[in-house]
Amino acid sequence: MRGSLAAIATLAWRNLWRNHRRTLVMLLAITVGVWAMIFMAALMRGMTDQMVRNGLETLPGEVQIHHPDFRQDPSVVNSMAPPSGPLLRALQEPPVAAWSARVRVPAVIASERESRGVTLLGVDPAAEEAIGAAPGEIVAGRFLADGDDRGLVIGASLARRLETELGKRVVIMSQDPDNNVAERGARIVGVYRARFEDTEERFVYGGRTAVQEMLGIGARVTEVALTANDYRHTGDWYPRIAAAAGDGLEVLPWTELNSYLGAMLALQDGFSLVFMVVIFLSLSFGLVNTLVMAVFERIREIGLMQALGMRPGLILAQVLLESLYLLCLGLLAGNVLAVASIKPLEAGIDISGVAEGMAMMGMGTTLYPALSTWDMAMSTLVVVILGLLASILPAWRAARLDPVVALNKT
Protein backbone atom coordinates (compact mmCIF):
# COMPACT_ATOMS: atom_id res chain seq x y z
CA MET A 1 0.00 0.00 0.00
CA ARG A 2 2.86 2.38 0.79
CA GLY A 3 4.40 1.67 -2.56
CA SER A 4 1.21 2.42 -4.38
CA LEU A 5 0.69 5.67 -2.49
CA ALA A 6 4.23 6.75 -3.32
CA ALA A 7 3.55 5.91 -6.97
CA ILE A 8 0.42 8.05 -7.15
CA ALA A 9 2.01 10.86 -5.10
CA THR A 10 4.45 11.59 -7.91
CA LEU A 11 1.81 11.06 -10.54
CA ALA A 12 -0.70 13.39 -8.89
CA TRP A 13 1.91 16.11 -8.52
CA ARG A 14 2.92 15.94 -12.18
CA ASN A 15 -0.68 15.78 -13.32
CA LEU A 16 -1.36 18.96 -11.38
CA TRP A 17 1.05 20.88 -13.62
CA ARG A 18 -0.08 19.43 -16.93
CA ASN A 19 -2.46 22.30 -17.39
CA HIS A 20 -0.46 24.88 -15.58
CA ARG A 21 -2.66 27.83 -16.57
CA ARG A 22 -5.72 26.24 -15.10
CA THR A 23 -3.84 25.21 -11.98
CA LEU A 24 -2.41 28.69 -11.52
CA VAL A 25 -5.79 30.39 -11.88
CA MET A 26 -7.29 27.97 -9.38
CA LEU A 27 -4.32 28.41 -7.08
CA LEU A 28 -4.76 32.15 -7.24
CA ALA A 29 -8.43 31.76 -6.38
CA ILE A 30 -7.67 29.53 -3.38
CA THR A 31 -4.93 31.91 -2.25
CA VAL A 32 -7.24 34.90 -2.38
CA GLY A 33 -9.96 32.92 -0.62
CA VAL A 34 -7.68 31.76 2.18
CA TRP A 35 -6.20 35.21 2.56
CA ALA A 36 -9.68 36.70 2.84
CA MET A 37 -10.69 34.10 5.42
CA ILE A 38 -7.74 34.82 7.68
CA PHE A 39 -7.77 38.56 7.12
CA MET A 40 -11.45 38.87 7.94
CA ALA A 41 -11.07 36.60 10.95
CA ALA A 42 -8.17 38.71 12.22
CA LEU A 43 -10.22 41.90 11.87
CA MET A 44 -13.16 40.34 13.66
CA ARG A 45 -10.98 38.91 16.39
CA GLY A 46 -9.26 42.26 16.83
CA MET A 47 -12.62 43.94 17.11
CA THR A 48 -14.01 41.46 19.61
CA ASP A 49 -10.86 41.48 21.71
CA GLN A 50 -11.06 45.20 21.99
CA MET A 51 -14.75 45.30 22.69
CA VAL A 52 -14.44 42.71 25.40
CA ARG A 53 -11.40 44.38 26.96
CA ASN A 54 -13.11 47.76 26.91
CA GLY A 55 -16.18 46.18 28.37
CA LEU A 56 -14.24 44.41 31.08
CA GLU A 57 -12.56 47.68 32.00
CA THR A 58 -15.86 49.21 33.00
CA LEU A 59 -17.44 46.01 34.25
CA PRO A 60 -14.76 45.38 35.77
CA GLY A 61 -13.04 42.04 36.29
CA GLU A 62 -13.90 38.76 34.59
CA VAL A 63 -15.94 37.54 37.55
CA GLN A 64 -17.93 39.49 40.08
CA ILE A 65 -19.37 38.54 43.45
CA HIS A 66 -22.50 40.29 44.69
CA HIS A 67 -25.30 40.04 47.17
CA PRO A 68 -27.87 37.97 45.24
CA ASP A 69 -30.26 40.96 44.94
CA PHE A 70 -27.69 43.57 44.05
CA ARG A 71 -27.91 43.26 40.30
CA GLN A 72 -31.70 43.63 40.34
CA ASP A 73 -31.60 46.39 42.92
CA PRO A 74 -28.18 48.07 42.91
CA SER A 75 -28.63 49.67 46.30
CA VAL A 76 -26.40 49.82 49.30
CA VAL A 77 -29.10 47.81 51.10
CA ASN A 78 -27.86 44.79 49.17
CA SER A 79 -24.32 44.92 50.40
CA MET A 80 -22.09 42.04 51.47
CA ALA A 81 -19.43 41.49 54.09
CA PRO A 82 -15.88 41.73 52.76
CA PRO A 83 -14.45 38.34 51.72
CA SER A 84 -13.29 36.12 54.56
CA GLY A 85 -12.75 32.43 55.31
CA PRO A 86 -12.81 30.03 52.32
CA LEU A 87 -13.73 32.77 49.84
CA LEU A 88 -10.77 34.88 50.90
CA ARG A 89 -8.51 31.86 50.56
CA ALA A 90 -9.89 31.10 47.07
CA LEU A 91 -9.31 34.70 46.03
CA GLN A 92 -5.69 34.51 47.09
CA GLU A 93 -4.96 31.40 45.06
CA PRO A 94 -4.28 31.10 41.34
CA PRO A 95 -5.74 31.45 38.80
CA VAL A 96 -7.08 34.59 40.47
CA ALA A 97 -4.47 37.20 39.65
CA ALA A 98 -6.04 40.10 41.50
CA TRP A 99 -9.27 41.10 43.19
CA SER A 100 -10.85 44.25 44.48
CA ALA A 101 -13.64 44.71 46.99
CA ARG A 102 -15.59 47.81 46.05
CA VAL A 103 -18.59 49.87 46.99
CA ARG A 104 -20.69 50.76 43.95
CA VAL A 105 -23.78 52.84 44.45
CA PRO A 106 -25.90 55.20 42.38
CA ALA A 107 -25.33 58.79 43.41
CA VAL A 108 -25.89 62.37 42.37
CA ILE A 109 -22.96 64.72 42.11
CA ALA A 110 -23.56 68.47 42.26
CA SER A 111 -21.28 71.37 41.56
CA GLU A 112 -22.24 74.97 42.20
CA ARG A 113 -23.92 75.11 38.82
CA GLU A 114 -25.01 71.62 37.77
CA SER A 115 -25.86 68.20 39.02
CA ARG A 116 -25.65 64.78 37.40
CA GLY A 117 -26.61 61.23 38.19
CA VAL A 118 -23.50 59.08 38.46
CA THR A 119 -22.21 55.80 39.82
CA LEU A 120 -20.02 56.29 42.87
CA LEU A 121 -17.23 53.77 43.28
CA GLY A 122 -15.59 53.41 46.69
CA VAL A 123 -12.34 51.64 45.92
CA ASP A 124 -8.98 50.71 47.27
CA PRO A 125 -6.72 52.26 44.60
CA ALA A 126 -4.03 49.58 44.82
CA ALA A 127 -6.53 46.73 44.32
CA GLU A 128 -8.28 48.70 41.60
CA GLU A 129 -5.01 49.12 39.72
CA ALA A 130 -4.33 45.39 40.14
CA ILE A 131 -7.57 44.34 38.43
CA GLY A 132 -7.00 46.94 35.72
CA ALA A 133 -10.11 48.94 36.57
CA ALA A 134 -8.39 52.17 37.63
CA PRO A 135 -8.71 55.01 35.10
CA GLY A 136 -6.11 54.71 32.39
CA GLU A 137 -5.09 58.32 32.18
CA ILE A 138 -5.17 61.04 34.84
CA VAL A 139 -5.19 64.36 33.01
CA ALA A 140 -5.15 66.59 36.09
CA GLY A 141 -4.25 66.00 39.71
CA ARG A 142 -3.75 62.44 40.89
CA PHE A 143 -5.60 59.17 41.42
CA LEU A 144 -6.71 58.26 44.94
CA ALA A 145 -3.81 57.82 47.39
CA ASP A 146 -5.41 55.02 49.40
CA GLY A 147 -8.73 53.72 50.62
CA ASP A 148 -8.96 56.49 53.20
CA ASP A 149 -8.62 59.25 50.63
CA ARG A 150 -11.45 61.72 51.15
CA GLY A 151 -11.13 63.30 47.74
CA LEU A 152 -12.97 62.37 44.52
CA VAL A 153 -11.63 61.55 41.06
CA ILE A 154 -14.03 62.37 38.20
CA GLY A 155 -14.00 62.07 34.43
CA ALA A 156 -12.94 65.00 32.23
CA SER A 157 -16.28 65.06 30.46
CA LEU A 158 -18.19 65.10 33.74
CA ALA A 159 -16.04 67.99 34.99
CA ARG A 160 -16.99 69.91 31.88
CA ARG A 161 -20.68 69.17 32.31
CA LEU A 162 -20.53 70.23 35.93
CA GLU A 163 -18.48 73.30 35.04
CA THR A 164 -16.06 72.39 37.75
CA GLU A 165 -12.37 71.56 37.86
CA LEU A 166 -9.50 70.14 39.88
CA GLY A 167 -9.42 71.41 43.46
CA LYS A 168 -13.07 72.59 43.45
CA ARG A 169 -15.56 71.22 45.91
CA VAL A 170 -18.57 69.18 44.89
CA VAL A 171 -21.36 67.54 46.81
CA ILE A 172 -22.00 63.83 46.40
CA MET A 173 -25.35 62.41 47.43
CA SER A 174 -26.55 58.86 47.79
CA GLN A 175 -28.64 57.02 50.29
CA ASP A 176 -27.77 54.99 53.34
CA PRO A 177 -29.24 51.56 54.14
CA ASP A 178 -32.13 53.25 55.96
CA ASN A 179 -33.10 55.22 52.84
CA ASN A 180 -31.91 58.50 54.26
CA VAL A 181 -30.01 60.82 52.00
CA ALA A 182 -26.32 60.50 52.71
CA GLU A 183 -24.31 63.38 51.44
CA ARG A 184 -20.86 64.75 51.77
CA GLY A 185 -18.82 67.58 50.37
CA ALA A 186 -15.56 66.54 48.77
CA ARG A 187 -12.73 68.07 46.83
CA ILE A 188 -11.86 66.92 43.31
CA VAL A 189 -8.32 65.59 43.59
CA GLY A 190 -8.04 64.11 40.11
CA VAL A 191 -9.58 64.19 36.64
CA TYR A 192 -9.33 61.16 34.40
CA ARG A 193 -9.88 60.46 30.75
CA ALA A 194 -11.42 57.24 29.51
CA ARG A 195 -11.89 55.72 26.08
CA PHE A 196 -15.53 56.69 26.01
CA GLU A 197 -17.20 59.89 27.13
CA ASP A 198 -19.95 57.77 28.52
CA THR A 199 -17.52 56.18 30.98
CA GLU A 200 -16.13 59.54 31.99
CA GLU A 201 -19.60 60.86 32.74
CA ARG A 202 -20.70 57.81 34.63
CA PHE A 203 -18.03 56.81 37.15
CA VAL A 204 -16.82 58.84 40.12
CA TYR A 205 -14.06 57.33 42.27
CA GLY A 206 -13.71 57.87 46.01
CA GLY A 207 -11.67 56.21 48.77
CA ARG A 208 -13.44 53.05 49.92
CA THR A 209 -13.31 53.81 53.63
CA ALA A 210 -14.49 57.35 53.05
CA VAL A 211 -17.44 56.13 50.99
CA GLN A 212 -18.29 53.41 53.52
CA GLU A 213 -18.25 56.05 56.25
CA MET A 214 -20.55 58.35 54.32
CA LEU A 215 -23.00 55.52 53.64
CA GLY A 216 -22.70 54.21 57.19
CA ILE A 217 -22.13 50.61 56.17
CA GLY A 218 -19.01 49.87 58.23
CA ALA A 219 -16.65 47.60 56.33
CA ARG A 220 -19.32 46.19 54.02
CA VAL A 221 -18.92 46.37 50.23
CA THR A 222 -21.32 45.85 47.32
CA GLU A 223 -19.14 43.84 44.97
CA VAL A 224 -15.92 41.95 44.62
CA ALA A 225 -14.35 41.97 41.17
CA LEU A 226 -11.64 39.51 40.26
CA THR A 227 -9.47 38.75 37.28
CA ALA A 228 -7.26 35.93 36.03
CA ASN A 229 -6.04 37.99 33.07
CA ASP A 230 -7.53 35.54 30.57
CA TYR A 231 -11.06 36.39 29.65
CA ARG A 232 -11.52 33.61 27.13
CA HIS A 233 -11.37 30.81 29.69
CA THR A 234 -13.31 32.23 32.61
CA GLY A 235 -15.81 29.41 32.46
CA ASP A 236 -13.14 26.95 33.57
CA TRP A 237 -12.42 28.40 36.98
CA TYR A 238 -15.23 30.60 38.18
CA PRO A 239 -17.34 27.70 39.54
CA ARG A 240 -14.65 27.09 42.17
CA ILE A 241 -14.99 30.66 43.36
CA ALA A 242 -18.75 30.20 43.41
CA ALA A 243 -18.34 27.12 45.58
CA ALA A 244 -16.05 28.98 47.98
CA ALA A 245 -18.44 31.93 48.16
CA GLY A 246 -21.31 29.71 49.31
CA ASP A 247 -25.03 30.11 48.76
CA GLY A 248 -25.38 33.57 50.23
CA LEU A 249 -23.57 35.26 47.34
CA GLU A 250 -24.01 35.42 43.59
CA VAL A 251 -20.85 34.71 41.58
CA LEU A 252 -21.10 35.45 37.87
CA PRO A 253 -18.65 35.48 34.96
CA TRP A 254 -18.53 38.44 32.62
CA THR A 255 -20.32 36.56 29.91
CA GLU A 256 -23.43 36.67 32.09
CA LEU A 257 -22.83 40.05 33.68
CA ASN A 258 -22.73 41.64 30.25
CA SER A 259 -24.63 39.40 27.90
CA TYR A 260 -23.82 41.68 24.96
CA LEU A 261 -20.11 41.07 25.39
CA GLY A 262 -20.66 37.37 25.95
CA ALA A 263 -22.75 37.16 22.83
CA MET A 264 -20.13 39.07 20.86
CA LEU A 265 -17.46 36.60 21.82
CA ALA A 266 -19.64 33.64 20.95
CA LEU A 267 -20.66 35.29 17.70
CA GLN A 268 -17.13 36.08 16.64
CA ASP A 269 -15.98 32.50 16.28
CA GLY A 270 -19.29 31.57 14.71
CA PHE A 271 -19.18 34.45 12.23
CA SER A 272 -15.58 33.69 11.32
CA LEU A 273 -16.51 30.09 10.63
CA VAL A 274 -19.59 31.04 8.60
CA PHE A 275 -17.52 33.52 6.61
CA MET A 276 -14.86 30.90 5.94
CA VAL A 277 -17.41 28.33 4.84
CA VAL A 278 -19.16 30.81 2.54
CA ILE A 279 -15.88 31.82 0.94
CA PHE A 280 -14.96 28.20 0.55
CA LEU A 281 -18.29 27.32 -1.03
CA SER A 282 -17.80 29.96 -3.68
CA LEU A 283 -14.34 28.51 -4.26
CA SER A 284 -15.62 24.96 -4.39
CA PHE A 285 -17.34 25.40 -7.75
CA GLY A 286 -14.03 26.28 -9.35
CA LEU A 287 -12.29 23.46 -7.53
CA VAL A 288 -14.82 20.85 -8.62
CA ASN A 289 -14.72 22.29 -12.11
CA THR A 290 -10.95 21.98 -12.28
CA LEU A 291 -11.07 18.39 -11.09
CA VAL A 292 -13.93 17.43 -13.36
CA MET A 293 -11.98 18.78 -16.32
CA ALA A 294 -8.78 17.15 -15.16
CA VAL A 295 -10.54 13.81 -14.94
CA PHE A 296 -12.34 14.36 -18.22
CA GLU A 297 -9.09 15.01 -20.06
CA ARG A 298 -7.53 11.90 -18.63
CA ILE A 299 -10.29 9.34 -19.04
CA ARG A 300 -8.13 7.18 -21.34
CA GLU A 301 -5.27 7.35 -18.96
CA ILE A 302 -7.48 6.33 -16.08
CA GLY A 303 -8.65 3.39 -18.19
CA LEU A 304 -5.04 2.47 -18.81
CA MET A 305 -4.24 2.55 -15.11
CA GLN A 306 -7.20 0.34 -14.42
CA ALA A 307 -5.91 -2.05 -17.07
CA LEU A 308 -2.52 -2.00 -15.42
CA GLY A 309 -4.14 -3.18 -12.23
CA MET A 310 -4.74 -0.07 -10.18
CA ARG A 311 -7.63 -0.61 -7.82
CA PRO A 312 -10.51 1.90 -7.97
CA GLY A 313 -9.51 3.10 -4.49
CA LEU A 314 -6.12 4.07 -5.78
CA ILE A 315 -7.61 6.05 -8.65
CA LEU A 316 -9.86 7.83 -6.14
CA ALA A 317 -6.86 8.54 -3.93
CA GLN A 318 -4.95 9.91 -6.87
CA VAL A 319 -7.59 12.51 -7.74
CA LEU A 320 -8.02 13.43 -4.08
CA LEU A 321 -4.27 13.79 -3.75
CA GLU A 322 -4.15 16.10 -6.73
CA SER A 323 -6.86 18.20 -5.12
CA LEU A 324 -5.01 18.13 -1.79
CA TYR A 325 -1.82 19.40 -3.41
CA LEU A 326 -3.75 22.25 -4.94
CA LEU A 327 -5.47 23.08 -1.66
CA CYS A 328 -2.25 22.89 0.34
CA LEU A 329 -0.36 25.12 -2.08
CA GLY A 330 -3.23 27.61 -1.96
CA LEU A 331 -3.32 27.41 1.83
CA LEU A 332 0.39 27.99 2.06
CA ALA A 333 0.31 31.00 -0.24
CA GLY A 334 -2.87 32.33 1.40
CA ASN A 335 -1.41 32.04 4.89
CA VAL A 336 1.82 33.69 3.88
CA LEU A 337 -0.11 36.50 2.22
CA ALA A 338 -2.33 36.87 5.28
CA VAL A 339 0.60 37.08 7.68
CA ALA A 340 2.39 39.51 5.40
CA SER A 341 -0.64 41.75 5.12
CA ILE A 342 -1.77 41.60 8.74
CA LYS A 343 1.59 42.02 10.48
CA PRO A 344 2.12 45.62 9.33
CA LEU A 345 -1.47 46.42 10.38
CA GLU A 346 -1.11 45.07 13.90
CA ALA A 347 0.09 48.47 15.06
CA GLY A 348 -3.51 49.51 14.50
CA ILE A 349 -5.81 50.76 11.76
CA ASP A 350 -7.19 54.23 12.32
CA ILE A 351 -10.96 54.09 12.22
CA SER A 352 -11.64 57.39 13.96
CA GLY A 353 -13.73 58.36 10.93
CA VAL A 354 -16.43 56.04 12.19
CA ALA A 355 -15.53 56.35 15.87
CA GLU A 356 -19.00 57.09 17.18
CA GLY A 357 -20.44 54.22 15.24
CA MET A 358 -17.79 51.94 16.64
CA ALA A 359 -18.49 53.32 20.12
CA MET A 360 -22.05 52.03 19.76
CA MET A 361 -20.50 48.59 19.48
CA GLY A 362 -18.05 49.25 22.29
CA MET A 363 -14.99 49.89 20.15
CA GLY A 364 -12.29 52.51 20.32
CA THR A 365 -10.92 54.61 17.48
CA THR A 366 -8.21 52.18 16.46
CA LEU A 367 -8.75 48.66 15.22
CA TYR A 368 -6.00 46.20 16.00
CA PRO A 369 -6.26 43.13 13.75
CA ALA A 370 -5.38 40.05 15.76
CA LEU A 371 -3.65 37.33 13.77
CA SER A 372 -4.35 34.09 15.55
CA THR A 373 -3.07 30.61 14.90
CA TRP A 374 -6.53 29.42 15.82
CA ASP A 375 -8.06 31.28 12.86
CA MET A 376 -5.30 30.04 10.59
CA ALA A 377 -5.89 26.49 11.77
CA MET A 378 -9.64 26.89 11.40
CA SER A 379 -9.34 28.15 7.81
CA THR A 380 -6.95 25.31 7.01
CA LEU A 381 -9.39 22.78 8.42
CA VAL A 382 -12.31 24.29 6.54
CA VAL A 383 -10.41 24.32 3.26
CA VAL A 384 -8.94 20.83 3.59
CA ILE A 385 -12.03 19.07 4.90
CA LEU A 386 -14.57 20.79 2.66
CA GLY A 387 -12.09 20.71 -0.23
CA LEU A 388 -11.70 16.97 -0.01
CA LEU A 389 -15.45 16.54 0.40
CA ALA A 390 -16.03 18.56 -2.76
CA SER A 391 -13.37 16.53 -4.58
CA ILE A 392 -14.94 13.22 -3.69
CA LEU A 393 -17.54 13.45 -6.44
CA PRO A 394 -15.15 13.90 -9.39
CA ALA A 395 -12.73 11.43 -7.78
CA TRP A 396 -15.51 8.90 -7.32
CA ARG A 397 -16.57 9.28 -10.92
CA ALA A 398 -13.00 8.67 -12.01
CA ALA A 399 -12.76 5.57 -9.87
CA ARG A 400 -16.05 4.18 -11.16
CA LEU A 401 -15.16 4.58 -14.84
CA ASP A 402 -15.66 1.43 -16.84
CA PRO A 403 -12.16 0.56 -18.09
CA VAL A 404 -13.42 -0.68 -21.45
CA VAL A 405 -15.36 2.54 -22.11
CA ALA A 406 -12.53 4.68 -20.75
CA LEU A 407 -9.93 3.01 -22.95
CA ASN A 408 -12.00 3.57 -26.05
CA LYS A 409 -12.66 7.21 -25.31
CA THR A 410 -11.43 9.38 -28.13
Binding site: A6, L11, R14, L304, M305, A307, M310, R311, P312
Partner: protein, 235 residues
Protein backbone atom coordinates in the same frame (compact mmCIF):
# COMPACT_ATOMS: atom_id res chain seq x y z
CA UNK B 1 -2.04 -26.60 -16.88
CA UNK B 2 -4.05 -24.25 -19.02
CA UNK B 3 -3.23 -20.54 -18.86
CA UNK B 4 -6.73 -19.58 -19.97
CA UNK B 5 -9.99 -21.50 -20.10
CA UNK B 6 -13.11 -19.94 -21.62
CA UNK B 7 -16.40 -21.77 -21.43
CA UNK B 8 -19.42 -20.59 -23.36
CA UNK B 9 -18.71 -16.87 -23.00
CA UNK B 10 -21.40 -14.43 -24.08
CA UNK B 11 -21.24 -10.67 -24.09
CA UNK B 12 -23.62 -8.22 -25.73
CA UNK B 13 -23.51 -4.42 -25.86
CA UNK B 14 -26.30 -1.99 -26.24
CA UNK B 15 -25.57 0.86 -28.55
CA UNK B 16 -28.64 3.01 -28.64
CA UNK B 17 -31.40 0.75 -29.98
CA UNK B 18 -29.00 -1.74 -31.49
CA UNK B 19 -27.81 -4.80 -29.63
CA UNK B 20 -24.31 -5.88 -30.61
CA UNK B 21 -23.24 -9.42 -29.91
CA UNK B 22 -19.52 -9.20 -29.21
CA UNK B 23 -19.08 -12.73 -27.86
CA UNK B 24 -21.41 -15.50 -28.87
CA UNK B 25 -20.84 -18.71 -26.91
CA UNK B 26 -17.08 -18.63 -27.12
CA UNK B 27 -15.16 -21.59 -25.65
CA UNK B 28 -11.40 -21.74 -25.78
CA UNK B 29 -8.44 -23.17 -23.95
CA UNK B 30 -4.92 -21.74 -24.02
CA UNK B 31 -1.82 -23.54 -22.77
CA UNK B 32 0.88 -21.93 -20.73
CA UNK B 33 3.65 -20.55 -22.92
CA UNK B 34 1.34 -20.24 -25.91
CA UNK B 35 1.80 -17.59 -28.59
CA UNK B 36 -1.67 -17.09 -30.00
CA UNK B 37 -3.20 -14.64 -32.35
CA UNK B 38 -6.86 -13.63 -32.49
CA UNK B 39 -7.69 -12.48 -35.96
CA UNK B 40 -10.74 -11.27 -37.75
CA UNK B 41 -12.34 -8.10 -39.07
CA UNK B 42 -13.16 -5.22 -36.73
CA UNK B 43 -16.28 -5.91 -34.73
CA UNK B 44 -15.60 -9.66 -34.70
CA UNK B 45 -15.12 -9.70 -30.89
CA UNK B 46 -11.31 -9.93 -30.62
CA UNK B 47 -10.93 -6.96 -28.30
CA UNK B 48 -13.88 -8.00 -26.16
CA UNK B 49 -12.40 -11.46 -25.74
CA UNK B 50 -9.05 -9.95 -24.71
CA UNK B 51 -10.79 -7.58 -22.29
CA UNK B 52 -12.73 -10.45 -20.74
CA UNK B 53 -9.53 -12.48 -20.39
CA UNK B 54 -7.87 -9.51 -18.68
CA UNK B 55 -10.80 -8.90 -16.38
CA UNK B 56 -11.43 -5.46 -17.83
CA UNK B 57 -14.80 -6.61 -19.03
CA UNK B 58 -17.13 -9.20 -17.56
CA UNK B 59 -19.08 -11.75 -19.58
CA UNK B 60 -22.86 -11.79 -19.44
CA UNK B 61 -22.69 -15.54 -19.07
CA UNK B 62 -20.14 -18.30 -19.26
CA UNK B 63 -16.99 -18.94 -17.28
CA UNK B 64 -13.49 -17.65 -17.67
CA UNK B 65 -10.47 -18.98 -15.81
CA UNK B 66 -7.06 -17.33 -15.90
CA UNK B 67 -4.11 -19.06 -14.17
CA UNK B 68 -6.59 -21.27 -12.35
CA UNK B 69 -8.81 -18.45 -11.04
CA UNK B 70 -12.40 -17.78 -12.02
CA UNK B 71 -12.14 -14.20 -13.31
CA UNK B 72 -15.90 -13.78 -13.76
CA UNK B 73 -16.43 -14.34 -10.06
CA UNK B 74 -13.91 -11.74 -8.86
CA UNK B 75 -14.82 -8.29 -7.57
CA UNK B 76 -13.63 -5.13 -9.26
CA UNK B 77 -10.71 -4.77 -6.87
CA UNK B 78 -9.77 -8.45 -7.09
CA UNK B 79 -9.74 -8.21 -10.86
CA UNK B 80 -7.52 -5.12 -10.56
CA UNK B 81 -5.14 -7.10 -8.35
CA UNK B 82 -5.14 -9.97 -10.83
CA UNK B 83 -4.18 -7.61 -13.64
CA UNK B 84 -1.52 -6.07 -11.48
CA UNK B 85 0.18 -9.34 -10.63
CA UNK B 86 -0.49 -11.80 -13.43
CA UNK B 87 -1.39 -9.92 -16.60
CA UNK B 88 0.44 -7.45 -18.78
CA UNK B 89 -1.50 -5.29 -21.24
CA UNK B 90 -0.24 -3.73 -24.47
CA UNK B 91 -2.74 -1.57 -26.35
CA UNK B 92 -2.86 -0.13 -29.80
CA UNK B 93 -1.92 3.35 -28.58
CA UNK B 94 -1.98 5.59 -25.52
CA UNK B 95 -0.13 2.91 -23.63
CA UNK B 96 1.91 5.20 -21.45
CA UNK B 97 1.23 7.72 -18.75
CA UNK B 98 2.36 10.96 -20.40
CA UNK B 99 3.71 12.66 -17.28
CA UNK B 100 6.06 9.78 -16.45
CA UNK B 101 9.39 9.01 -18.14
CA UNK B 102 10.00 5.67 -19.86
CA UNK B 103 11.67 4.28 -16.77
CA UNK B 104 8.98 5.62 -14.46
CA UNK B 105 6.29 4.09 -16.65
CA UNK B 106 7.98 0.72 -16.29
CA UNK B 107 8.54 1.23 -12.59
CA UNK B 108 5.00 2.39 -11.99
CA UNK B 109 3.36 -1.03 -11.92
CA UNK B 110 6.16 -2.46 -9.79
CA UNK B 111 5.82 0.43 -7.38
CA UNK B 112 2.11 -0.25 -6.99
CA UNK B 113 3.03 -3.89 -6.42
CA UNK B 114 5.34 -2.78 -3.65
CA UNK B 115 8.70 -3.74 -5.16
CA UNK B 116 11.54 -1.96 -3.29
CA UNK B 117 12.93 1.09 -5.08
CA UNK B 118 16.42 -0.14 -5.84
CA UNK B 119 15.29 -3.49 -7.17
CA UNK B 120 12.57 -1.77 -9.15
CA UNK B 121 14.94 0.61 -10.83
CA UNK B 122 17.47 -2.05 -11.73
CA UNK B 123 14.74 -4.22 -13.20
CA UNK B 124 13.26 -1.34 -15.17
CA UNK B 125 16.62 -0.46 -16.71
CA UNK B 126 17.22 -4.11 -17.48
CA UNK B 127 13.93 -4.67 -19.31
CA UNK B 128 14.22 -1.36 -21.14
CA UNK B 129 17.65 -2.51 -22.36
CA UNK B 130 16.12 -5.83 -23.26
CA UNK B 131 13.52 -4.15 -25.50
CA UNK B 132 16.29 -2.06 -27.06
CA UNK B 133 15.71 1.26 -25.33
CA UNK B 134 18.94 1.59 -23.34
CA UNK B 135 19.79 5.29 -23.03
CA UNK B 136 16.21 6.45 -23.46
CA UNK B 137 15.09 5.70 -19.89
CA UNK B 138 14.54 9.34 -18.98
CA UNK B 139 12.54 10.36 -22.02
CA UNK B 140 8.88 11.16 -21.63
CA UNK B 141 6.40 9.42 -23.99
CA UNK B 142 6.09 12.58 -26.10
CA UNK B 143 9.79 12.35 -26.87
CA UNK B 144 9.60 8.76 -28.16
CA UNK B 145 8.48 7.43 -31.54
CA UNK B 146 5.40 5.24 -31.82
CA UNK B 147 7.47 2.07 -32.01
CA UNK B 148 9.58 3.11 -29.04
CA UNK B 149 6.46 3.86 -27.06
CA UNK B 150 5.08 0.40 -27.80
CA UNK B 151 8.35 -1.14 -26.68
CA UNK B 152 8.19 0.81 -23.40
CA UNK B 153 4.69 -0.64 -23.00
CA UNK B 154 6.07 -4.14 -23.62
CA UNK B 155 8.89 -3.52 -21.15
CA UNK B 156 6.31 -2.47 -18.57
CA UNK B 157 4.15 -5.51 -19.33
CA UNK B 158 6.97 -7.98 -18.79
CA UNK B 159 8.83 -6.17 -15.98
CA UNK B 160 6.44 -7.45 -13.37
CA UNK B 161 6.88 -10.99 -14.69
CA UNK B 162 3.28 -11.67 -15.65
CA UNK B 163 2.10 -15.10 -16.62
CA UNK B 164 0.11 -13.66 -19.48
CA UNK B 165 0.53 -10.70 -21.85
CA UNK B 166 -2.54 -9.50 -23.72
CA UNK B 167 -1.82 -7.26 -26.69
CA UNK B 168 -4.68 -5.55 -28.53
CA UNK B 169 -3.62 -4.56 -32.07
CA UNK B 170 -0.13 -3.67 -30.82
CA UNK B 171 1.20 -2.87 -34.31
CA UNK B 172 -1.78 -1.03 -35.75
CA UNK B 173 -0.18 2.39 -35.43
CA UNK B 174 3.34 1.33 -36.40
CA UNK B 175 5.26 1.37 -39.66
CA UNK B 176 6.31 -2.01 -41.07
CA UNK B 177 9.80 -1.88 -39.68
CA UNK B 178 8.73 -0.98 -36.17
CA UNK B 179 5.98 -3.58 -36.32
CA UNK B 180 8.48 -6.28 -37.27
CA UNK B 181 10.83 -5.26 -34.48
CA UNK B 182 7.98 -5.36 -31.95
CA UNK B 183 6.86 -8.79 -33.10
CA UNK B 184 10.43 -10.09 -32.93
CA UNK B 185 10.54 -8.83 -29.37
CA UNK B 186 7.32 -10.69 -28.51
CA UNK B 187 8.67 -13.89 -30.01
CA UNK B 188 11.93 -13.57 -28.09
CA UNK B 189 10.18 -12.92 -24.80
CA UNK B 190 7.83 -15.85 -25.39
CA UNK B 191 10.73 -18.09 -26.13
CA UNK B 192 13.17 -16.90 -23.44
CA UNK B 193 10.82 -16.13 -20.56
CA UNK B 194 7.98 -18.51 -21.30
CA UNK B 195 5.38 -15.75 -21.11
CA UNK B 196 2.02 -16.62 -22.65
CA UNK B 197 1.09 -14.12 -25.39
CA UNK B 198 -2.37 -13.53 -26.77
CA UNK B 199 -2.52 -10.91 -29.52
CA UNK B 200 -5.40 -9.54 -31.51
CA UNK B 201 -4.79 -8.24 -35.01
CA UNK B 202 -6.20 -8.07 -38.48
CA UNK B 203 -2.72 -7.64 -39.98
CA UNK B 204 -1.79 -10.79 -41.93
CA UNK B 205 1.94 -10.27 -41.38
CA UNK B 206 1.46 -10.20 -37.61
CA UNK B 207 -0.56 -13.45 -37.77
CA UNK B 208 2.47 -15.08 -39.31
CA UNK B 209 4.36 -14.86 -36.02
CA UNK B 210 1.79 -16.89 -34.09
CA UNK B 211 1.99 -20.60 -33.41
CA UNK B 212 -1.75 -20.72 -32.95
CA UNK B 213 -4.17 -18.71 -35.04
CA UNK B 214 -7.75 -18.21 -33.88
CA UNK B 215 -10.13 -16.65 -36.37
CA UNK B 216 -13.20 -14.82 -35.18
CA UNK B 217 -16.26 -13.41 -36.90
CA UNK B 218 -19.43 -11.92 -35.39
CA UNK B 219 -18.41 -12.93 -31.90
CA UNK B 220 -17.78 -16.54 -32.77
CA UNK B 221 -14.63 -18.58 -33.22
CA UNK B 222 -14.67 -19.69 -36.81
CA UNK B 223 -11.20 -21.19 -37.02
CA UNK B 224 -8.55 -22.40 -34.56
CA UNK B 225 -5.36 -23.94 -35.89
CA UNK B 226 -1.75 -24.54 -34.92
CA UNK B 227 0.71 -23.23 -37.50
CA UNK B 228 4.39 -23.02 -38.20
CA UNK B 229 5.42 -19.38 -37.50
CA UNK B 230 6.50 -17.51 -40.63
CA UNK B 231 7.77 -14.04 -39.60
CA UNK B 232 7.84 -11.31 -42.19
CA UNK B 233 10.99 -10.24 -43.82
CA UNK B 234 11.86 -6.60 -43.39
CA UNK B 235 14.72 -4.88 -45.04
Amino acid sequence: MSAIVCRDLCRTYHQGEAVITALDHVSLEMDEGAFACLSGPSGSGKTTLLNVMGGLDTPDSGEIEVAGRRVDQLSRSERADMRLHTIGFVFQSYNLIPVLSARENVEFVMQVQGVPARQRRALADQVLAEVGLAGMEDRRPGELSGGQQQRVAVARAIASKPALVLADEPTANLDTRSAAQLMDLFVALNRDRGVTFVLSTHDVRVMGYARRLIRMRDGRIVGDEQQEPHPMKVE
